[in-house]
Amino acid sequence: MAESKPRPKPKKEAVKMPKQDAKIRSQNFNEVALGYTEEQALEEASRCLQCPKPQCVAGCPVGIAIPDFIKLLKEGKYEEAAQKLKEKNALPAVCGRVCPQEEQCQKSCIMSKMGEPVSIGRLERWLADWERKKGVKTPEKTPPTGKKVAIVGAGPAGLTVAAELAKLGHEVVIFEALHLAGGVLVYGIPEFRLPKSIVQAEVDYIKKLGADLRLGYLVGRIHTIPELLRTGFNAVFIGTGAGLPAFMNVPGENLGGIYSANEFLIRVNLMKSYAFPIYDTPIRIGKHVVVIGGGNVAMDSARSALRLGAEEVCIVYRRSREELPAREEEIENAEEEGIVCKFLAAPIKFIGDEKGWVKAMECICMELGPPDESGRRKPTPCKGSEFTMDTDTVIVAIGRTPNPIIQSTTEGLQVTKWGTIVADENGKTSIEGVYAGGDIVTGEATVISAMGAGKRAAKAIHEYLMKK
């Protein structure tokens, strides 16, 4: 009897993501990661062991059938693979770029026991990009159910709900307060990490599914949620996201040259002030930029500042490198580009020049004590360790608090003491027919967790509508 051919052992290392050179990319806003070639995608896909009990799926907030799409990809059935992805995820090109896969699907990949996990995110991205370049097929329309749903906010949560419900045949109207759809995908995440044309393509896909999109429409100030329910909508989903920036409450915070990360990123991304004066919205970047905070928003701000011509960009974080909440990949990218980090320090005062513009920042050193409620070691200031840093531009990236408009104009909507909306795991709020999900419920989190919440809410809304 002939011996069966032994299966080649999969490579321990993942296929590396081709990237723009750090020196070059720190001068432009083009995408940093260039994406796999077809050969690279096939090679990486071949590393998937097709586990009978895949752990990766459990790690995905939207439950993509990961081994299935990888198998189809490996077999060259790209169209089917892309459809498999889209069964569960309406925004694969976005998720393939910005999801923290290392903490989700890839975390429990069996391959990581032997080396590196399968690069699920990079494969997702390659497939989504392949499909977009080829031309996205519009799915067949489901017969209309006659039910109408209002979606407040066209960010990751709202777009997901819209896609899911439109596919089920419900009439969907998305109300977006800004002049462009995408939410944090257009105003927050920079072009070099997520090109806006990709967001636009994903939004166009959701429109093709039948969703109606109304821009520049602020629910709460035009129609309130109770009014929407009274005027023909059978259900409402609130996905208004993170809102007002948090500040540190230290002296001098309102000097010129001190931006919240939200302001800085909105100017640069949404308003395209990197191309001022072609675009009318200005931005001013000095020579010595300081970014306060250690999350992805801080990394995005720091790397944008560098690209806008700052001579030096320094991230000031009150904990140590181990506690940085940003994705490891983004920290590495930032370091490669020449961004420096000052750990265990926090500002206590900003000093202005005679024109009211920031010129220096007084800081205090911190030491780490035992873990706090967040599970991270709690920083405490060291007496007498004050020092001063020269700076002419400061970006404060220490988080955001929920936008108050919906909460203050919706009677009967239960809100937490932090201002977030109270909703159960299916997004059900204290008002019948009103659902919520994403950052407006959880406080600041990730794109994919908002999409997961949207997914669950869409299911609950569908059940609610069909029972009515």
């Binding site: 002049h179 007002l244 909105i266 072609i278």
Partner: protein
């Protein structure tokens, strides 16, 4: 796209647009503002609502041609469209019967003050109005204000018409007790009025005009200090207790992008955007 249905020149470089926006017309209230974007490359600028007409389905707003966007806006005519308008934004004014109200308006903010005066009048208040401008040529709405007010005073910075400056308000307050004061105008004017009314204990409301980007509670550029606390002009305001505002900080923050604003305007004019052919 929002169609301009009427255009009126109120004074040199001060114009009033009436724009077709039926949903906004239904919801707009005195004290609120809108954000306009003139075209796809445009910036987002806040303008105070100066009127709404549900029958015509319109809202109106005044603007002063000071920067590139407002100069471009001024070149638009009836029938032209504005790319995007979002609103109404901000918390509406508290309109009720206070008793005697002193309304002080300066410059382009005379336009929204007319709406405020009308609403206060309809709520049964007795109204004394002051309209002011730098020079008499920049005054407008005197007759309209007169028709709605119990008393009307006129003031100019140079004294070319009415009182010179606003110091005469002290005399007005000495002679008559007011229950409330509303001041709409340049920050320096609102600062002056607040300083005048404070010793008399007249609660004073001002409408602040910090720089805004989104205008709906996201960016925080409109942060102002009121009563020692950080407030956001767009969602907490735009109206605040005039006696608690840190005006000097606000003035400084308003000037933050002055060099860029000048550059933008200059480049646009040099390229002939202003219809002067680049001369």
């Amino acid at each position: 796209m929002y169609k301009i249905v009427a255009k009126r020149e109120l004074a040199p470089k001060i114009k009033l647009f009436e724009v077709h926006a039926p949903e906004m017309a239904e919801k707009a209230r005195p004290g609120q503002f809108i954000i306009i974007i003139i075209n796809e490359n445009g910036e987002r600028i806040p303008l105070t609502i100066a009127g709404y007409d549900t029958a015509r389905g319109t809202i109106s707003f005044g603007f002063n041609e000071v920067g590139k966007t407002t100069k471009q806006l001024g070149l638009l005519n009836e029938g032209d469209c504005i790319w995007n308008i979002t609103g109404p934004l901000g918390v509406p004014s508290e309109i009720r019967n206070y008793g005697k109200v002193l309304c002080v308006a300066g410059g382009v903010m005379i336009a929204p003050m007319l709406l405020q005066v009308r609403a206060l009048r309809e709520s049964g208040n007795q109204i004394t109005t002051v309209v002011g401008a730098r020079i008499k040529q920049l005054l407008f709405f005197e007759d309209e204000m007169k028709a709605l007010s119990d008393k009307l005073f006129v003031a100019t910075d140079d004294g070319s018409k009415g009182y010179k400056g606003l110091d005469f308000i002290k005399e007005v307050l000495k002679n008559e007790k007011f229950d409330r004061c509303v001041a709409y105008g340049p920050v320096v004017m609102m600062k002056n009025v607040s300083e005048i009314t404070k010793p008399f204990g007249v609660p004073t409301v001002v409408s602040l005009t910090p720089i805004m980007v989104d205008g709906m509670g996201m960016c925080g550029v409109c942060r102002v200090t009121v009563g020692g606390k950080m407030k956001f002009g767009c969602v907490d305001g735009p109206e605040f207790d005039g006696h608690g505002v840190d005006y000097d900080e606000l003035i400084n923050r308003q000037r933050m992008f002055l060099p860029e604003e000048r550059l933008s305007s200059l480049l646009w004019e040099m390229r002939g955007g202003c219809n002067c052919g680049g001369k």
